[in-house]
Symmetry: C2
Subunit: 543 residues, 2 copies
Amino acid sequence: MTAPRRDSKWWGWGEPERLPELDAAALAMLRERIGELEPWPLARELGEFELPRAQGLPPALVDAVGAENVFDSTEDRLRHATGRGYADLARLRLGALERAPDAVLVPADAAAVRRVIDASAAAGVAVVPFGGGTSVVGGVEPLRGGFERLVSLDLTALRGVEVDPRSLTARLGAGLRGPEAEAALARHGLTLGHFPQSFEYATIGGFAATRSAGQASSGYGRFDALVSAIRLLAPAGDLDTLETPHSAAGPALRELVVGSEGALGVIPEVTVRVRPAPAVRRYEGWMATGFEAGAEIVRTLAQGPGLPTVIRVSDEEETESSLALSGPRGIAGRLFGGYLAARKRAGGALLIVGYEGDEESVARRRALTVRALRGGGAAYLGGVAGRGWEHGRYQGPYLRDTLLGMGALVETLETSHTWSRLEELRAAVGAAIRDTLAAAGTPPLVWCHLSHAYADGASLYFTFVCRARRGEEVAQWRQVKTAACEAIVAHGGTITHHHAVGRDHAPYLEAEIGTGGIEALRALKERLDPAGIMNPAKLLSGS
Amino acid sequence: MTAPRRDSKWWGWGEPERLPELDAAALAMLRERIGELEPWPLARELGEFELPRAQGLPPALVDAVGAENVFDSTEDRLRHATGRGYADLARLRLGALERAPDAVLVPADAAAVRRVIDASAAAGVAVVPFGGGTSVVGGVEPLRGGFERLVSLDLTALRGVEVDPRSLTARLGAGLRGPEAEAALARHGLTLGHFPQSFEYATIGGFAATRSAGQASSGYGRFDALVSAIRLLAPAGDLDTLETPHSAAGPALRELVVGSEGALGVIPEVTVRVRPAPAVRRYEGWMATGFEAGAEIVRTLAQGPGLPTVIRVSDEEETESSLALSGPRGIAGRLFGGYLAARKRAGGALLIVGYEGDEESVARRRALTVRALRGGGAAYLGGVAGRGWEHGRYQGPYLRDTLLGMGALVETLETSHTWSRLEELRAAVGAAIRDTLAAAGTPPLVWCHLSHAYADGASLYFTFVCRARRGEEVAQWRQVKTAACEAIVAHGGTITHHHAVGRDHAPYLEAEIGTGGIEALRALKERLDPAGIMNPAKLLSGS
């Protein structure tokens, strides 16, 4: 077995060679809005890291996967020591990690996962399930929860694909990355339709464990809605839900495993709903008169004839400055030109609208959507705008690396609420981010978009950029993250629409689900994982 | 407070005066198929029942609701002693109930429910939450689970209605019956769209507690899909889910409360998704060449352009004989005429297809559906067939009373599976019912229909009628029910698609959710209801 996950930057996102540059106009805009940035280079090379000394593993745990599937080099430990949130990237850039797993185990199949769990429970070794390692909320942080030893359980090798073409379902191994799953399904003429920004690296197991939502979830459904059956290997035993999810046999245990974030056990495979691969993919841009008008169009569609496959409304700030950041030369530049032309109406809000399906269904749904768009006062920007979005749909994390290197703090966070309280929540969270950072002398750019809609409400996704406070990078981040979370909780939004709880949101879970909810989760945790070895201190902060 | 639930037959279903008769043709068909029936009159009047002696209640429990809301007459105890399954009706007809609650409590609001739970937990009194009392699986049976005293907690008085017209949600009191909830929503121009056969008596709380599905669930969604937020008053404390359900904050606790069947606590209110009341309701009949061809049409729709609001496919036996049973004179008779005309194709399968919405949406969806119907070889029967179905949509339980009085056993049961295994399951369950009853000398009529469809699978609903074995009515029922359940389990179907677990399905729950699933539910039960007072021996048979 070769070591897993060597195909991305150790210090940032994705392909090592890919690091987009900003052009002069974008740089000028940034400087004007957030001030002069001071470059933030990597403090050291990978080989120079000093990780905490690795504890030896019990022989039974090595035997569980076979010695050839145990990796304990500095590189492998480091590559499994963090996710890809801002705080992770800051620590890597600063060249200092307080924590790392003692080793990375790569089980070949579900039986080996079971052996790892049993051996770990017997010997008191903490286990952190590791999918794509793309968590932005500390979901894979090697927190020991009182155990002396901790292993990262890399699920890369769980790669089964079993398709039921008649029922349009597929059983997929947890370790398949987004593109791998799509490629396997494409051989059957099918698609899963799950495209989060982390698509290129995140895995099927991670999608399920975190209740992921993707850019096309308005059309295909959130990942939780795509799961038809699921398996959990818990320390106390296996939990398999029935092949059919359409049952009235008590509480839905499927919905307990989905979102369990490795804290109850390991998800080795997921059965998902799949669809015929679309013959047509059509994305286009529209310009609404403002964010609220754009959101109202989306509400009309969600409560009426239905949503297109993709629908996203950027607020005025995001419409203006995120396009500027993409640079005027590329496809985004052409979009930017169209945008400027359309922007004779001041303060417009960009909508990206996409349709996937066969030709007839795309035409039918587009006709209904266009009527709502025109009825809501939106102006057509054309297909170039849509293709610009498509081209850049997985680019955000690459651009984040660029901005960090320039000396910026870049973070995203997301929430959702009912339509009747969405605007209140948007104002409160935006103000919390702006005010906190401005008061600390690092005024931010704050962008917001709505990218997942439902009949009863929608998500809000915030991105903000400001000068990193050098020497206090993580503390600065924690301060603004705390302010945003408190604003969300105060206004009744969810603490996370699709990033999951992990470590960062765990302190706010009780505000969301109440003491009764916490008690219910604790009861499950204690029964399914009596020794408490599974992903300690995630989801439930005290666990 | 007047005593609750006096507006229906004490010994059967619904309005006391309503007892449809079968005409000569239907009687002849029945006689030919299942043999001569021997009338089965009520053994005694309500006033002649001897119930087990009522145990006195602890004063704190009386105080919890106020003495004026405690009902302990024989009639009130008897009316809360059973649901409306065949075994319930047989026991009432036989004039002998082994069990009854000691009293019926009618809390005025959620605070009174909380006081009842606390007082019951303190004094060791079992509590059976009672909604519409329409359970057909023993869900409200007064099983004491080792406690000396048991109360039926009648939730009739929980009747709040709070509408959020912008988010299209409504918070509804658990005690509202289907028509009451619809009437309240109609005042806002809205509908819930949940119409199970028990609609006229079943309640909002019961829909949630049992994961109900209704006749229009293909269009509006199962009740579990309509719940956006829910409240549980458990002995250990309250559990409130967030106003927005679109969250990645861990396991979905909403999905633990939905389907909890009173075993974890009481659901005092449910927030549901609502929709504009449809301007148009159009139901029509089609005739497919057979059940499999009809099911294939439904699969095409579910996996393609989407389902109409109502879609139901009767198998050949149900198509032929259930129409005959409805009698040739009424609307159903006109349908029957159309059916006969269309049936020059032998062995046809009746489809009922319904569309609800505004005129344009009905026309649009109908065009897509009609194309699939014609493509699948179905012939149009016209609107009379649809109106016949509409007229009789809540009639089944009334007809059951008639048949019981004539001396028949009548039972229904339901399951679901993926499309790839649906036919296998249908054959196995049908054979189990037929063979068991035929071998015992009471050959049945067995009907099956598909009435809820999904992209990945569909439900199957079986109805069967045979001669009741007098003196062994309940044992006869148990024998065939057991055979059917075992066939379902053996073929991987769910033990219940929408009737819930209750008492009757509890022995099969482990086969469905595994020991891991049972452990998870037990952990929740023990934490949320440490004394075990909530609906003992339901859902989890050993609890």
